[in-house]
Symmetry: C2
């Protein structure tokens, strides 16, 4: 028995989220089915980040204890041959026996895309917030998010994180071809935190002092002070960092 | 009766192309239906470029003779309320009586996206050509495409253009976030020309001299000498140019 480590990309549009649920198509479900086909037995995977329905991943990492019947370098292609087109294994390999995709993750990077105008072509991967984003206001709004602090104000009910204190090493807006894109790196993430942050920044960009508004929301430690949760399709789990890789 | 001019964006994934066909969902079909709903009568639209099934548009321009019941500034919102989410009117307005979206177009700009790796998230708008694109080779391959010349080698059967001579004012590859993107501006386009060009450049990038290979293909004026037609999903009609706007 070995520990398999997979890096997954997926389009979350057609999934009811990552985590297995009865009678729903989930990323975990289709990946475990492909692994079972490959290994001849039921396999459970553990994921670095359990994304919600409609959210995407470019670099989700999962681990599984398996009896591999193939040399590691052939596993990615063999799994991709069994997977639907909205999930791909980008990398596969064997990890140390103690490796666990979730518990060993040191940091994660997420992105969230906004649209400048409503766009049919990007509707599955970005959010049109009803008015054009003001990039400079969003940048000011994001500044107070960096650092180590209690981010309870952005935590939705439904999860029990070990601690509401997160160390955010990067929180920045950059233009992308159809609008603005938020990128955040932190050691851990509270439930729906990124989407709540984006909803709060989009609300704050219309106000007189976006940075002060975000600082007030953080200080309150009260979810009711933050803005609405931005919709899922803008979110993407870009990368998971482990000790051997640094945190970019 | 006035001439309405619409600028359309659409995701071509769910359409059997632009042009109306019996028992098929087409862009023309859904736009004409929305216009009929707005005007209370059957309306025919003319498009600057008739895109194939699976191809997209960011700036398709269509014109129609209509009896508008609304002030021009309210037409876009009224049409969008009647259109499905994979087509949007980006701009709507009245044009001079003589305006015709196709006959008056002076130039068009298309893009074609390649992927660096197979990608579930970008599979509807880009092509994974089986091996990573070599950007510098593609750039050399594109150089002979610029200028005024007979481009019959890239014309598929199925159209009867006025002339196989096209004036290409720009043909260039640039990186985009998930691979390489080709952009071409020309006064007119032969049937499936861009996709044949891309298929030929992708084939040529593996050879010793991509520029010489493209020059030979052009010189032959023979479709059989060009490469295979690249698949539709990478193609996007970006912009149509008219006299008042220049050709960028």
């Amino acid at each position: 028995v070995a520990v398999l480590r997979l890096e997954l990309e997926y389009d979350g549009t057609g999934f009811a989220g990552f985590q297995v649920q009865p009678r729903a198509r989930t990323v975990q479900g289709v990946v475990e089915e492909a692994l079972a086909g490959l290994c001849g037995e039921r396999v459970r995977i553990a994921a670095a980040g359990r994304t919600d329905a409609g959210c995407h991943a470019r670099g989700q990492v999962v681990s599984a204890r398996v009896e591999p019947r193939l040399p590691p370098e052939r596993i990615a292609a063999a799994l991709n041959a069994r997977l639907p087109e909205d999930v791909r294994v980008r990398r596969a390999g064997l990890a140390p026996d103690s490796f666990h995709a979730r518990f060993d993750a040191r940091a994660r990077r997420y992105s969230y895309r906004l649209l400048d105008v409503p766009s049919p072509r990007w509707r599955r991967c970005a959010w049109w917030p009803g008015r054009p984003p003001r990039g400079e206001c969003l940048r000011r709004a994001a500044a107070p998010l960096t650092g180590e602090q209690d981010l309870s104000s952005f935590a939705s009910a439904g999860s029990t994180p070990s601690s509401p204190v997160c160390r955010v090493s990067r929180a920045a807006w950059e233009p992308w071809e159809a609008g603005w894109r938020f990128e955040i790196v932190a050691d851990h993430f509270l439930y729906r935190m990124v989407r709540a942050m984006v909803g709060t920044m989009v609300r704050a960009q219309a106000g007189p002092d976006p940075a002060a508004e975000l600082a007030r929301v953080i200080e309150a430690r009260d979810r009711r002070r933050a803005g609405p949760t931005a919709p899922p399709q803008g979110l993407c789990l870009e990368q998971v960092y482990y000790d051997e890789e640094g945190t970019g």
